[in-house]
Structures are given as structure tokens and as C-alpha cells.
């Protein structure tokens, strides 16, 4: 039952196709793809195929694929690599904390966002940079396209993965393998045009990123991406209907609930909602006792006791928050069971 819900930011299950491959891959060991002997050549061919597959799903060229063993460094590579003397950075108020960290101490402007996830649309100048989120990691809301922006665009696709395509004009982009149930520790970074990008990290040569990443994890990520996209295409309408059903239940059977974004402006497999007058910590514990593992963005559940900056920036209720992911393996009966339990608990807690 634990698979019904969960934190879609950090605890996605590894796709079965990827985990089957990994068990065998790690037993066998991998040669360095940069060396010349036969085993290395074999590793290089497989890695190349993986990059080819990843590029195809993400809508980029194979030679644009850079593998990052630490996806978070991609924010620095992608944003700082585009900044120049006199550049301003524009970023939505519901951006990830990595973006806030980069904005600290430089000329930057935070963009207001509304509860549907739509951010103010800046125009900027040619040398300015927009850190644009294709979809928001915490709520699943899909952003409006950055068409009006005159400057360079960094695309944070870590939450949307292969489900949303890149905007028409992008400069750098970042994905996290976890978005498609791939293994942790695999980020994909791409640069549209090398001429406008400068490596912000100390470096000796023209390489964009370190070659010190795991070959089997990268191949597993490519396998997961392939399988995830196939599963998703097959279940797209089913997931959407289930999402609609959950929204309907929350509004009509439970009530006083704040759901992030609408069905058409949110990733179909993700839901974030907050119950008025409910302590998320108690709710999460009660659900856990009944066999439902649920994550929350409420202050009571965070380490620093501060409310989620994302929920607050979007004007969404920060208490009583729950996040739900409709994984490929989730059955409708399980979701219904979960919703019924939720209804009883909320009624008891509000009494």
C-alpha cells in the first residue's frame, strides 16, 4: 500500500525494468568507457546507446547529453554558466532552493506566482537569464511558456522529465533521472549552444562535466526512461481519470481543501493538497498507522519548522498538506481505499 502516495520529489520507486538490469550490471562490473580494450569499447557502445535513447525522449541531440552524478550541480552549471557582467536573473518564487542560493548576492528578481503555478512573465534584455521551471517539483503545476523573454533561458525539467517538451527557445536544461523512476545520482544536463555558455566551475579543458559518473546507473536510467514513457502513454487517460476522481472526492466528500493547480495545468500523476484546520503531522502519523506512507510539505513536518516556501509563494494553504503520486503500479481500488480512510480521519480530526 505504501506505493499509493509518497514524496514525488525524492522517493520515487525505481522502475522494475531498471532494477532488473542493475542487479546484473553491478555484479558484472564495468570498464572505463574512455579506455581502449575490448570491455571498455563495449561499455562505450552501451553508454552511447543510452545517451541516444535519453536524447530522443528529452527532445535534444545525443551530443548535447551531459551526465551529472550530482543533479543539483546542474543548477549552477545551467544558470551561472549563462550569466554575464550586468546580467539579471529572473526566477519564480516557487523555484527550488538551489535557484534561491544562486540568486543570493547577484542582481536577481523574484517573480510572483499564483496558485495555479503561473508566474509573472518577464521580458528582460538579451543578457538576462530566466530560470524557468517546466513543472513545479512540489506541486506538479505546469508553468506558462517563457515566450516573451528576450534573454537566455535555463529550463528546470527535474520535475517534468520527459512529460513536457522544452520551450521553443532554451539555452540550458536540467533533468533528474528520478522523474522517470530512474536511479538517484543521475542528472542530465544539456546546452543548446556552446558559444553562449561558460563553465562556471574550475576547469582545464572543454569538457562540460566530470566524466566521473556511473555507467550502469546511466544505462539503467535510459532503460527506466524508455519503460516509463511507454507505461505512461499506455495509462495516460487512466491516470488522468483517477486524478479527476481524486479531485472530485476531495472537494465533494471531504471539503475545505486547497488543491494545487487544475487538472489541465498540473502533471497528471502528481497531486498536492492541503486540508483546512488539519495538523499534517498528526494526519501523516495516523495514515502511517493504517498502512499509508504519505509525505507532507507542511511546516510541522519540515526540519526547520518553516512552512514550505513553494506553497506560501503560490498562496496555497501550508498546513494540512499531503503529496500524492500516481505511480504506474497504483491501482484504483488502493486509491479509493486511501480516500475513504482520509475522509474518516479528517472528519475525526475536525470534530
Amino acid at each position: 500500500m505504501g506505493s499509493v502516495t509518497g514524496n514525488f520529489q525524492s522517493e520515487t520507486l525505481l522502475h522494475p525494468a531498471a532494477s532488473a538490469f542493475l542487479t546484473e550490471a553491478f555484479e558484472r562490473g564495468w570498464a572505463d568507457p574512455d579506455k581502449r580494450h575490448a570491455e571498455s569499447q563495449q561499455a562505450a557502445i552501451l553508454l552511447n546507446e543510452a545517451k541516444e535513447g535519453i536524447a530522443g525522449h528529452l527532445g535534444i541531440r545525443r551530443d548535447q547529453v551531459e551526465i551529472l552524478s550530482d543533479p543539483a550541480i546542474g543548477y549552477h552549471l545551467g544558470i551561472s554558466g549563462l550569466l554575464r557582467e550586468g546580467s539579471r536573473l529572473f526566477y519564480p518564487a516557487n523555484s527550488r532552493s538551489e535557484v534561491f542560493a544562486i540568486a543570493e548576492g547577484i542582481s536577481a528578481q523574484k517573480l510572483e506566482v499564483d496558485s495555479s503555478g503561473a508566474a509573472q512573465s518577464p521580458v528582460g534584455e538579451l543578457k538576462d537569464v530566466l530560470a524557468w521551471q517546466a513543472a513545479n517539483a512540489e506541486t506538479g503545476t505546469i508553468a506558462n511558456p517563457p515566450d516573451a523573454f528576450a534573454g537566455r533561458i535555463f529550463v528546470d525539467a527535474t520535475a517534468s522529465g520527459a512529460l513536457l517538451s522544452l520551450p521553443d527557445r532554451w539555452s540550458t536544461a536540467l533533468w533528474n533521472s528520478r522523474a522517470w523512476q530512474g536511479p538517484a545520482g543521475v542528472g542530465i544536463f544539456a546546452i543548446a549552444d556552446r558559444a553562449i555558455w561558460r563553465n562556471p566551475l574550475p576547469h582545464f579543458d572543454q569538457r562540460v562535466s566530470s566524466s566521473d559518473f556511473s555507467v550502469p546507473l546511466t544505462i539503467a536510467s535510459a532503460i527506466a526512461l524508455d519503460a516509463f514513457v511507454a507505461d505512461f502513454n499506455e495509462r495516460r487517460s487512466e491516470i488522468r481519470e483517477l486524478n479527476q476522481e481524486i479531485r472530485h472526492f476531495l472537494h465533494h466528500e471531504i471539503g475545505d481543501v486547497d488543491i494545487a493547480g487544475g487538472i489541465d495545468t498540473t502533471l497528471p500523476q502528481q497531486l498536492s493538497f492541503s486540508f483546512l484546520y488539519i495538523d499534517a503531522e498528526i494526519l501523516v502519523n495516523e495514515l502511517d498507522r493504517r498502512g499509508f506512507a504519505v509525505d507532507s510539505g507542511s511546516a510541522c513536518n519540515s526540519a526547520n519548522m518553516e512552512p514550505s516556501h513553494v506553497l506560501a509563494a503560490m498562496g496555497l494553504l501550508t498546513h494540512g498538506n499531503i503529496r500524492m503520486t500516481l505511480h504506474n503500479g497504483v491501482k484504483r481500488e488502493d486509491v479509493i481505499e486511501f480516500l475513504k480512510t482520509l475522509k474518516v480521519l479528517i472528519a475525526e480530526m475536525r470534530a
Binding site: 495538523d279 511546516a299 519548522m305 518553516e306 512552512p307 498562496g315
Partner: protein, 64 residues
Amino acid sequence: MELDCRGMRCPLPIIKLATSLKESEEVILLSDDPATLPDLNAWARMTGNSYEVIATDKYLVKRL
């Protein structure tokens, strides 16, 4: 009426506020929890009630 929720954590100030508003049309809420301001904002949107910030950690809340 004045409601002192200083030292309380979310969602307690909003729960107590809703209870107080049943008895009084206007409530002065004192709350130093960092979630109070964003939650008052969302609560007002959801319930139709209104609020204004009158000082740090001090809000005037009016029933719809």
C-alpha cells in the same frame, strides 16, 4: 475580541481563529508562527473572510 496565539504552531492559530469568529465578527489575532501569514491568506481565499496586517504578528480578521 483579542486572540493571543503567540507560541503556538500551525495549524492551531487558524483553528482557534475560526472558533473565535463564530462568536465575534472581528478578531484581533496575535500569532508569531511563520505559517500564520501565508495561511491567513489561503484561509481568507477559501472561506471568504478577510484580514489585514496591523502590526508585526498582529492581524485584524473580519468575518464574511
